[in-house]
Symmetry: C2
Subunit: 163 residues, 2 copies
Amino acid sequence: MFILPIMKIRLLQIGKTNEDFLVEGIKSFEKRIQGYITYSTETIANVKNAASLTPQILRQKEAELILAKLKSDELVILLDEQGKEMHSRGFAEFMQQQMNLSVKQVTFIIGGAFGFSDEIYQRANKKISLSKMTFSHQLIRLIFAEQLYRCFSIINNHPYHND
Amino acid sequence: MFILPIMKIRLLQIGKTNEDFLVEGIKSFEKRIQGYITYSTETIANVKNAASLTPQILRQKEAELILAKLKSDELVILLDEQGKEMHSRGFAEFMQQQMNLSVKQVTFIIGGAFGFSDEIYQRANKKISLSKMTFSHQLIRLIFAEQLYRCFSIINNHPYHND
């Protein structure tokens, strides 16, 4: 019997996923991830009247909402263009290390359309970039879900990943 | 009135897109790309009994099918892990340059599950990597479609892209 690791993974995101095709795709990978590890998604409601705010003010308001969700002992990883790019196997090794170090809770955060404020960068333990290219913060959710599924298929030696 | 550029873009891919959510997502970006430029997708049927072939033989068979589709005067760009990573603006500048050089036909190719054979690498004019991470050759279709849409929204100064 396969026993789920003690480590839990959570994804924090801003605003619900708009496109049906993304909702469907993300759901399908989430289910597959949950076969490997406890995984949940938490969606922070969009800031009201966001369109009337400057990007800077919007990022600050989003930061308050994000920080309110974070406990002091969780490992916080931003999915961010300024982050470090990794190969899929490197990402899997990093996640395996966190399990080996008995990290209990890893929280990944995908920011809003204008990214993160300085407060969030200060709280973060790590930043990972999924690509040099920019993708919409909505599409990133699907890309991340596939990559996290790939990560655990690598850790468990299952044949999803080809080098 | 907006006049479509003379340059045409084509995507060649191996095997039909399996997941409905990907079909939906790709279709939605394709329509938006076609507002900017003549764009089509051509799907090469999967090689028969592919599962019984070695990756090397499969890549060779796929290469024959791909090469039969290519004319000598088109600019062939592989979407490939070994390729050069670009920022979204850099990709848009590159595509703008091709239009400035009066390139008539650009063909992007997404390989099969095991990538490309040497014959394809030899024919290619350029290789672009969308990420250091590995994504499934099916998901790459959606990621590419969003990036090509983003590229033309940048070229046309439309407000899809935030730096």
